[in-house]
Symmetry: D2
Subunit: 337 residues, 4 copies
Amino acid sequence: MILTLRPGTTQEGIQEVIKKIKELGFTPHVSTGKERTVIGVIGENAILHREVFEAMFIVEAVTPISKPYKLVSRDFKKEDTVIKVGKVEIGGNNFVVLAGPCAIENREQLYQTAVAVRKAGGKVLRGGAFKPRTSPYSFQGLGGEGLKYLAEVGKELDMPTVTEAMDPRQVELVSQYADIIQVGARNMQNFDLLKELGRSKKPVLLKRGMSAKIEEFLMSAEYILSQGNYNVILCERGIRTFEEATRFTLDLSAVPLVKEFSHLPIVVDPSHGTGRRNLIAPMSGAALAAGSHGLMIEVHPKPESALSDGFQSLNFDEFTEMMSSIQVVAKVLGRRM
Amino acid sequence: MILTLRPGTTQEGIQEVIKKIKELGFTPHVSTGKERTVIGVIGENAILHREVFEAMFIVEAVTPISKPYKLVSRDFKKEDTVIKVGKVEIGGNNFVVLAGPCAIENREQLYQTAVAVRKAGGKVLRGGAFKPRTSPYSFQGLGGEGLKYLAEVGKELDMPTVTEAMDPRQVELVSQYADIIQVGARNMQNFDLLKELGRSKKPVLLKRGMSAKIEEFLMSAEYILSQGNYNVILCERGIRTFEEATRFTLDLSAVPLVKEFSHLPIVVDPSHGTGRRNLIAPMSGAALAAGSHGLMIEVHPKPESALSDGFQSLNFDEFTEMMSSIQVVAKVLGRRM
Amino acid sequence: MILTLRPGTTQEGIQEVIKKIKELGFTPHVSTGKERTVIGVIGENAILHREVFEAMFIVEAVTPISKPYKLVSRDFKKEDTVIKVGKVEIGGNNFVVLAGPCAIENREQLYQTAVAVRKAGGKVLRGGAFKPRTSPYSFQGLGGEGLKYLAEVGKELDMPTVTEAMDPRQVELVSQYADIIQVGARNMQNFDLLKELGRSKKPVLLKRGMSAKIEEFLMSAEYILSQGNYNVILCERGIRTFEEATRFTLDLSAVPLVKEFSHLPIVVDPSHGTGRRNLIAPMSGAALAAGSHGLMIEVHPKPESALSDGFQSLNFDEFTEMMSSIQVVAKVLGRRM
Amino acid sequence: MILTLRPGTTQEGIQEVIKKIKELGFTPHVSTGKERTVIGVIGENAILHREVFEAMFIVEAVTPISKPYKLVSRDFKKEDTVIKVGKVEIGGNNFVVLAGPCAIENREQLYQTAVAVRKAGGKVLRGGAFKPRTSPYSFQGLGGEGLKYLAEVGKELDMPTVTEAMDPRQVELVSQYADIIQVGARNMQNFDLLKELGRSKKPVLLKRGMSAKIEEFLMSAEYILSQGNYNVILCERGIRTFEEATRFTLDLSAVPLVKEFSHLPIVVDPSHGTGRRNLIAPMSGAALAAGSHGLMIEVHPKPESALSDGFQSLNFDEFTEMMSSIQVVAKVLGRRM
């Protein structure tokens, strides 16, 4: 961490800062320029004390020189993390498609969708039982009943499953039924939920918050790892910008960046990320080419009568078509699907 | 709700849409232009079914004509809601300052701050016991012990108190100690927490999410009201933008807008909203002039050694000075402080 | 265009709006709901008068039902526009790479780069002579001398060239030397420049402004077409968001969207769009897979001593490697390179 | 400027960086930590060479320690700049209101408005002759004829005038008629226009670009000052964010921040900044309380039939009412109006 002092700071002021640095157990390294004095604070995790220095009037700026996350970083672990869920492997050279309905509406809808997804090459079955909805008057999901359907259908078709938990109190229940627990974008900084999931051993699919910087995204993953659960799959799902033609702006640059900074796998959700059905296929191809470890796609037997997010769901034919064009590109890029 | 159909839609297509509208119990109103056909969907809460229509290929756009919230709207209740907490009234013509340390560090720190706040004209004591922190390695708050200090000091000085609950499981505990329960920006769409608070009767201070549109902000308040708790105070605390010179961009336009759309009181938090100590006084004055019902300010005996957010806290002298300049303006504007 | 009136509007108010609509030569179409009255304004280009109605107090909202652009729209021209520059075709099924140094520093640097670009499969030579720089103290480009080098090198190697004009007074000069004139992101709404280019017949490469919505981007192209110049190539180059890990957020969704709305070709600039050298290759692949008509890439003999934007330039080896992996994907997607 | 090197950088790498620093005439200051080496680059304007270092692979991050602008900074000039235009002074303790129609439609409209503005206390007359419009089909202003009306009315009523120049070729003409030349938000980084204005001696009112960081805003002012024209008035007019309820998000924090960083005066435009007529009065009060040096307000005899931006214009009564409430607050704050 580097402290830049204001111009005109006196020798006394500099001494006070140095004293504080030593008090905290770090080593100061002073560098005096023509206009400004700069002090390096040397020592492990010095950055965790940045607020102490930001609050000092004579400190004009505090600049971190190391990343605030540890366990999720490439520095901590060089090789890619590969997470096994049943027979499916997520991470490394694998390209995995997780697909299914946004919300589970009934057993039949889920079953039909799962059959179509599996046939087209989808490996993991997704389906929402607890739904975070902006309006209290919208369909909130089937809850426990939905979880039961998901477990049954997943078992019958031998597909691992993923579904969302919104409340720390749901973690235990969801763990009994699903193979991967999803954290939605709105809960990316629900720290009590993250801690609860960190104490579980289930794989977690953590979605990026709609206004989260990549660093904050990785910090939220760090919450889970720091409690002992290393099985975290990241998911880029679009950020909020001024553009109104899409529901969110899918930030595909996040894929190569996250792969540079972290060993954790990252998948992309073009359904929520764009909110427009006809953008899903091109953006899925783009995600693959950008280096993503997989896709999360909404599929519905009849999108136009879906109880949730039908506008951004593919029907079975559209999904099958998208999958075959993806497979061609995956093959030429040497990715395992 | 208005449906704009794609150019070239056939009579059959139009009939299909009309059929669907009637099925849902609404009245269609067709208007045929040169290029496009437009259909009005008339009936209460038609907008709640917007997804059904968005999923239809021939529907190019769905345009709401009424707001998606009900109980929080000015249409529902014309006069300002005034919330009484002890002897303090929030809303209407009152201008109330809620102040105290970001995090409660110990009893002494809280007590000293409370005395200074009250002396300068602050009416409600704030102090964090459970702290949402981006990093799992940062100070997470004193928890239950902090709550006890808060209740004791509030009682001793006869000041109502406000503190944050982050987890639905904390609501009961926090309710026993505090007079107002705060929902932090990161939890604005933690819907299980909102529902839990809706079932409590305690006043809630709901902070705007850092990427929440005003409509979404009001929808989150609607979650609480829809469960039966009408005592909601809104709080503008800055939104996330590209600007880096401030921590967030304080959106003061939200104040007159929320007052136009809703009967609920709205206060402003310039401490988090700017993240810079020297902006707190000017932006507090601006919030008052924009019509805010109050301010939420971080005060600390020694900001430079604060365990949390010292950079954006005022010391006692700075707070006192700010309060006296605010009082002068409040008086000339006819606001009761 | 649809006008939604405020609740409680009287019959007189409605009549006044109707009168205004007729005055402007349009046909009103009134639809009376329980809470609100809605009036359709039928007639060509009604939306151009939206401000008249927005200014009326009783009009709560004005909703366009047709796009504000005409000549650039797919409605106006169904098939893709293909622009010929020398022997190079841009648009349709072609995938064209435009590459070269950000700024022309001297003849030798430009020549060496052009040779490397051509050898690796780049078709159009880019190079800046007039440079828009945030700081008045940064290198501003070689100006006319740079233009001369560009024309010479392009001719010698038989490559069409592209360079930026920043000022309407430069259009004539730049036209004499370059084959395509670039409009930079900061000038996307420099309407006098756009008009000047519209009166020229030279192909224009129009970059998206860093805070431009896709609709505004297309409106700026409309300025050029409306003056008679139909040879416009669009370029997505990243938008400004809260994310700081990249210089801008490359909005690849813009590619399929623009192709849906418009017949004009669109290329992607991952150099400026990400600002990080190691993101250029993955985002180039992603742009191709998203359906882009080409790429605009910065290449420099020695990026670490570039006078402008070295941080985001590829050296010759990196460019060559990127091109070969792009070619493999282009082939399997059936794109002509 | 501080360079943070990548972990694992060798002694040779460090020596190479040091060599480069010395070549450029600066002094290196090396500080070796456990994980990383950090090098301070000491010397005037070192930051202008940041790109040289950003392009080096072993340099992980470049951190400026001084501001990139000079002439506009408080360091360069401690006391507030006060700009005299006729008898009007802008800056320092003065609070000046510039008002008038968005676009000049005819002499009568301008004259009536000017009379109303002056009577209510407005000091400078604004009116657009050249209008930057998103659509080529919208009213583009009266041009030279409008300028003549502006000059005549200003002279008759003894009010200084302000109007926009969009094109460097207009600067000379506009200078002959108006007292202050405005640069619109879309042209904030039209560097040729800025340079042209820098060579003129006329006061310039520079509007903040809708996606410009405060630092970039000040850099654009630096362009003008660096050419010798020190008479620059800054204008905050809203930035582009995800919020849709207002046209832009008025960033009032920019006011105290700009006053901290620069000696130049800054005024606020709540008409464009909010795009909603009923927000103008509250946000004007807020701008004053935040420390603004003035306001720029759109006034129109009959906003509902304005040819441009009627939705955000006040009529005469609204303006007069707003002015009297502003005057009360200005008085109590000790500001001269």
